[in-house]
């Protein structure tokens, strides 16, 4: 395996720019000068091939980056990439899914915090919709989950939503797993005499 390929893989997988010092530290079997040369070769190679990214020296070290000329295209991806949902949004969404029809005040009572912003973003994402107004003083809006909600979670209908009990039942420690964690101390006397039906040797 060539030193260039080794350095390339380390820089590629790193989550920040890597300095020459750090690279030398990681590759004690190679000379500092060889690492330096390999880095220069890599920079030149990627520059010369005119690809979508190259190796650049930025503050503190080397890093692979997309070419600035391609920014326009890269941004297109950013705009369409899958969005992640925040933990607070997920929590509110779960409350609405399981307790609908529900008012904002009820969601807030359960979460103990203001949920206006979260609710608005859930409405914007069309995961939640307004079902109507509750017939109590102030006539608060009532929320429920939408058709898009079912689509995002791949549910046929609301009945297919797993119940809490079903998820909780996964938590019940299987006996065998528990057994693996028991300290093996053969000399310790059994605390409880378990009666097994196989105490006596069986004759074949």
């Amino acid at each position: 395996m060539s030193l260039s390929a080794i350095i390339e893989s380390i820089i590629f997988a790193a989550d920040s720019a890597l300095s020459l010092d750090r690279l030398c530290e990681m590759l004690p079997e190679y000379e500092r000068s060889a690492i330096k040369t390999a880095l220069a070769d890599l920079v030149e190679f990627h520059e010369g091939r005119g690809g979508g990214f190259g190796l650049f020296e930025v503050a503190g070290g080397w890093q692979f980056r997309t070419s600035p000329a391609l920014q326009e295209y890269v941004v297109r991806h950013i705009k369409t990439r899958t969005a992640k949902i925040s933990q607070s949004a997920l929590e509110s969404l779960a409350i609405i899914a399981y307790r609908q029809p529900i008012t904002r005040a009820e969601v807030e009572h359960l979460r103990g915090v203001d949920c206006g912003g979260v609710l608005k973003s859930l409405l914007e994402k069309k995961l939640v919709k307004i079902l109507g107004k509750k017939d109590i003083p102030g006539r608060p809006l009532i929320y429920g989950t939408s058709k898009e909600f079912l689509e995002v979670f791949g549910l046929k209908d609301l009945k297919s939503l797993p119940t809490l009990r079903e998820i909780q039942s996964l938590d019940e420690m299987p006996r065998f797993e528990r057994q693996e964690e028991l300290p093996l101390e053969p000399d310790r006397a059994p605390l409880v005499e378990r009666s097994l039906p196989f105490d006596e040797p069986l004759n074949p």
Partner: protein
């Protein structure tokens, strides 16, 4: 223990060079059985049931001697083995054979063992692949220039398990007395029924009471459905019609589809 030693030297040899390793290695009764079959170098399709049963029981005894909690699954298999052994000891009964239409009492066990072995090996094969984050790595950072321009427009990526887990974590956090009304209901709750009616009404404009209880005409179901309808009516989410006395009861959404959303957008600034 002496008894075991005399009867089954190969088994104990294994334990002598590290029984603890062997003991917690088995992933279940089938795993243990397969191990015994391989150790004895016998054909999986022609298991010497008496020997294997004895070794299996010895093993369970050993677990007990070592003060290990013997899982019920292991005991269940032990009883299956004993049952097979006893059936093989009995002379073949013509009448019984005619009834059960099953030649070898080991057949079902062999079938399970072969199938289990298949998946055990499949597990080893897929586990031996170059795994992302273990042997193979992808980029862990996105381009610094792009990190700032985060967008929330794309399709949402979240799993159902995360949703349920979030709710579960929330319930675990809040004091019990404040969520007594939030705890999961029984198989048939009014909330579930309301959800069901609402989701049906999103797809169609009208619904009949009979349709809601047709699949499951139990007393409980009918009462819960009725209460759900009353609740929906109280919330002004549906309207109820009956064309004639004792005729079919129809529901329609009180708010036309789409109207609720318009209402919602009016109440909130449009993004």
């Amino acid at each position: 223990m002496n008894q075991v030693r005399v009867e089954n030297p190969p088994l104990l040899d294994g334990f002598r060079d590290g029984y603890s390793v062997h003991l917690d290695k088995f992933d279940g009764p089938l795993d243990l059985l397969l191990h015994l079959i391989r150790r004895n170098e016998v054909d999986i399709c022609d298991i010497p049931i008496a020997d294997i049963t004895r070794q299996y029981l010895d093993y369970i005894k050993l677990m007990k001697v070592l003060n290990l909690d013997v899982a019920g699954d292991f005991l269940l298999m032990a009883s299956t083995l004993l049952h097979i052994k006893s059936r093989m000891l009995l002379p073949p009964d013509d009448r019984e054979e005619g009834e059960e239409e099953e030649g070898d009492p080991r057949a079902e066990l062999i079938r399970r063992l072969l199938e289990y072995q298949q998946y055990k090996e499949a597990g080893m094969v897929i586990g031996a692949r170059a795994l992302l984050g273990r042997e193979v790595f992808a980029r862990t950072c996105s381009d610094p220039a792009l990190a700032e321009s985060r967008s929330e427009e794309g399709p949402l990526e979240v799993s159902l398990f995360e949703l349920v887990d979030a709710f579960r974590a929330l319930l675990a956090r809040i004091p019990a007395e404040s969520f007594h009304d939030v705890a999961p209901g029984d198989s048939l709750s009014i909330a579930d029924c309301i959800n069901e009616i609402l989701s049906l009404l999103w797809e169609r404009d009208t619904l009949q009471f009979d349709e809601l209880v047709r699949d499951e005409q139990t007393r409980e179901r009918i009462i819960v459905t009725f209460l759900a309808i009353l609740e929906l009516c109280r919330l002004k989410l549906i309207r109820i019609f009956q064309n004639e006395e004792c005729g079919a009861i129809w529901f329609v959404p009180a708010v036309a589809p789409g109207q609720a959303e318009v209402d919602g957008e009016a109440a909130l600034p449009v993004a």
